[in-house]
Each structure stands twice: as structure tokens, then as C-alpha cells.
Amino acid sequence: MRQSHTAVVARNETWSGDVATEPYEVAWAGEAMMFLRVLEPPDGPPGARLRVQVSPDGMRWCDEGSTLELPVDPDVPTFVRLRRFGGWLRLAGHLPDGVRAKVIAYLVLKE
């Protein structure tokens, strides 16, 4: 049976401006989904996007190419599917002026 694990990489964090989740080690996993949920309707206009980033060492980051939209409805998370990501993953980005969101972010990993 394949191993699987869900990590809550951000919980009840209020995001504005430059944001990044803490580095998370994923070397054992072959695939991942990143889910982002707002715990309350966010302030500001919709459409803000976050970037998936990868890293060789957990300290220096580059864009993986995938992006994820900040959701607007607390009951409807957004997600992105990922493969071939190496040893670390995180979500990073810049929320435009006036955008402010209380979020919970999940990494759903599978061998």
C-alpha cells in the first residue's frame, strides 16, 4: 500500500503582502496536491495567485511553474496538482495591496 500524509503547512494565518509557507520536506513523495482554504471571506479584490516553489536545500527557492488562486469562498478551497518536485515544497507569493486573507493550507502527499 502506498504511504500518504497530509500536512497543515499554514493554519489560521492572516496573509497580506509577501507570504510564504514554511519549508516542507517531501523527498519521499511522488505526487502532491496543495490545497488553500480561506477561513473567512478575504478582504480585497479576487484573483490573487500564489506560486508553488521548489528547493534543493530547503533554504533557496525557485518557481516550480504552477500557481494557485486565493479562494474567495471559505467552503470552496483551491488546489494544484504536483509531480517531480524534489525534496522541498512551499507556497509563496505577493498579495496585492488591500488583499488580506485568513488561510489554512494543506499539502496532501502520496508515494
Binding site: H5, N12, E22, Y24, A27
Partner: protein, 306 residues
């Protein structure tokens, strides 16, 4: 300092060489090697009601469990002591921040309980310097309840605080001076707070920086090694007697403590917790660098029941 014991007599784990680095009691309740996942070790969280905003502040941002192959920026992957993966606790790069992982269990019977683990602690190698004083502390604790009492033995190795070693000198190659840390214990938790509005939920912060006392004979020189990417594993053991409500031994490699009674927090039994046998591990950073605690393996065993 007394000498550590050596196994004698029948060795029930002889058929399993991977258990041979431990000294378990008769019944192994769990043997966690993290090559097979996080094995029930999960992020600690405080109690809340209605909203996560009701969490006490120290519980709001404890970090999740990770599985690490100990990849270092300079030499690549080290792997665990046994196999590829270790359980990893990582703080934020914020002075005083803490990561805590917990495994929740219940006792089958009032008996002796032995916790053993192989661990390693390191700061994130964000600077090309020694960094031996970057990690403030790591620790091991238990949350236990019988019919009368909830009791929480908690022991930390205080490595450094405010950039100073917890005991002894700072590193000085010319004088061969090595910093020492010290084991500490506590006998009281912080105040209980009512959480939410129903009166059914309370919370208390049991790992505050205040209230720690030195364990007699508890100063120790750890093998930090000489740069942040060189990682050495060490052995940690705690012996509990659930029947007499005693902690009979705290051991880190060759340092054995417990000749004088070890302290623990104790208060009246609480609703819904009878039989609890939780174990937790934590790490705390002293600087604006992440602190890591790697756990290769854990064995919790019991024995001696009447």
C-alpha cells in the same frame, strides 16, 4: 553520574536486530522507525472552541511533522541513523519558537513504562558558522492520567539561552573550552484558561520558558559536532512507574539522572482523559534560525505489572 545499565538475562528482541539498540521492557507497545511514515506522531495543538482564534497563543503555530532524509546543502543526503527517513520537527526562524510532536496512546494496565529514542538536533545551516548556541532546547514529555491524577513529566535539555550556553564556557578552540547544556524539569504548569463560552473546554500552556528547575547532576556536553551540517545521533530514555506515579530514570547517552526524585507537573484528574499515555518531543530555537529535531526511531515498552 551513575553508569548506564546493560541488558541482562533473556533478550526478547534478539530476533530483531533493529531493536537491539534499545533496552525495552517485556511488551513493546510501539516501535516507530520513520522509514514507514510518521507513525502516529502528529502536530501538537491546544484546545479550541468555535474558532481557531480561541487557541492560546503558544499553541497557535506549532509546526507539522515532516519526514526528512537529512539533505544538507553542502554534502547532500545523510539519511537517518537507520534507513533513509527520520521524523523531523522544525521551528520557524523566530527566537523562542517551538515545534512539538505528540503520539497519543492509552495504557493497558498500570505498569512500568520505558520511552527510548535516537535523536539529533541542529540549527538550519543558514549561516556558514558553528551555530552551536542556536538551538535553545529540546525535550521529552508525557501526559498521563490515572483515576486520581493527571501528571506530566517534562524534561528539557537547555542548550543555550540568549546566545549563552546554558552551563559552562563558550566554545574556545585555543582553550579547548566546550559549552555545556543542562537538563531541566518542572513541577507546575501555567494557569488554566477557559476556552470558548460553553464552560466545557480549558487549556493550559505546559512548556512555558518560565518555571524550569535544574535536574541534579544534569549538566552535559553534547556531541554538537563542528558545523551545522554534521549530525550525530544520541540516545534518550525515560522510565515511568505508573503505579507509584514516579519517574525513575532520565538518561541521555551515558548521563543517567534520577537518583534524586525527578519532578513532574501533577493536578487533579480531568474529564475524558483516564488512561492517557501521551508522549511528546519538542525543539525550540534561540535565534532567528530554524531549529530542527530529527528522530530516527522510538520504542515505548511496558512491563512489571502485577
Amino acid at each position: 553520574m551513575s553508569r548506564p545499565s546493560t541488558p541482562t538475562g533473556a533478550v526478547p528482541h534478539a530476533a530483531n536486530p533493529r531493536l537491539a539498540r534499545f533496552d525495552p521492557l517485556e511488551r513493546v507497545l510501539y516501535f516507530d522507525d520513520f522509514d514507514g511514515g510518521t507513525r502516529g506522531w502528529t502536530a501538537h495543538i491546544g484546545n479550541y472552541e468555535g474558532s481557531l482564534d480561541t487557541l492560546l497563543t503558544p499553541y497557535a503555530d506549532l509546526r507539522p511533522a515532516q519526514l526528512s532524509n537529512l539533505t544538507m546543502w553542502d554534502v547532500g543526503s545523510m539519511g537517518a541513523m537507520d534507513g533513509t527517513y527520520a521524523l523531523k520537527l522544525a521551528t520557524r526562524p523566530v527566537p523562542g519558537h517551538m515545534a512539538i510532536l505528540i503520539k497519543r496512546q492509552t495504557w493497558r494496565e498500570m505498569a512500568d513504562v520505558r520511552f527510548e529514542a535516537y535523536l539529533a538536533y541542529k540549527p538550519e545551516p543558514a549561516e556558514l558558522v558553528l551555530g552551536e548556541l542556536d538551538v535553545r532546547a529540546f525535550g521529552v514529555g508525557f501526559d498521563l492520567q490515572d483515576d486520581e491524577t493527571r501528571w506530566m513529566p517534562q524534561y528539557r535539555f537547555l542548550n543555550a539561552e540568549g546566545g549563552r550556553p546554558a552551563a559552562g564556557d563558550v566554545t574556545d578552540q585555543a582553550r579547548r573550552a566546550t559549552p555545556r547544556g543542562k537538563w531541566q524539569q518542572r513541577d507546575a504548569t501555567s494557569a488554566f484558561h477557559t476556552i470558548g463560552g460553553t464552560g466545557r473546554t480549558v487549556s493550559h500552556w505546559h512548556l512555558a520558558d518560565e518555571g524550569w528547575h535544574d535536574v541534579p547532576g544534569g549538566q552535559q556536553v553534547m556531541c554538537y559536532n563542528e558545523i551545522p551540517t554534521k549530525v550525530n545521533w544520541f540516545y534518550l530514555r525515560v522510565d515511568l512507574d505508573l503505579r507509584r506515579r514516579r519517574v525513575t530514570r532520565l538518561q541521555c547517552n551515558d548521563l543517567v539522572m534520577g537518583a534524586e526524585p525527578l519532578e513532574f507537573i501533577a493536578f487533579a484528574a480531568m474529564p475524558n482523559l483516564r488512561g492517557m499515555l501521551n508522549a511528546f518531543l519538542w525543539v525550540q530555537t534561540d535565534t532567528a534560525k530554524r531549529a530542527f529535531l530529527y528522530v530516527d526511531s522510538v520504542v515505548l515498552s511496558t512491563g512489571g505489572a502485577a
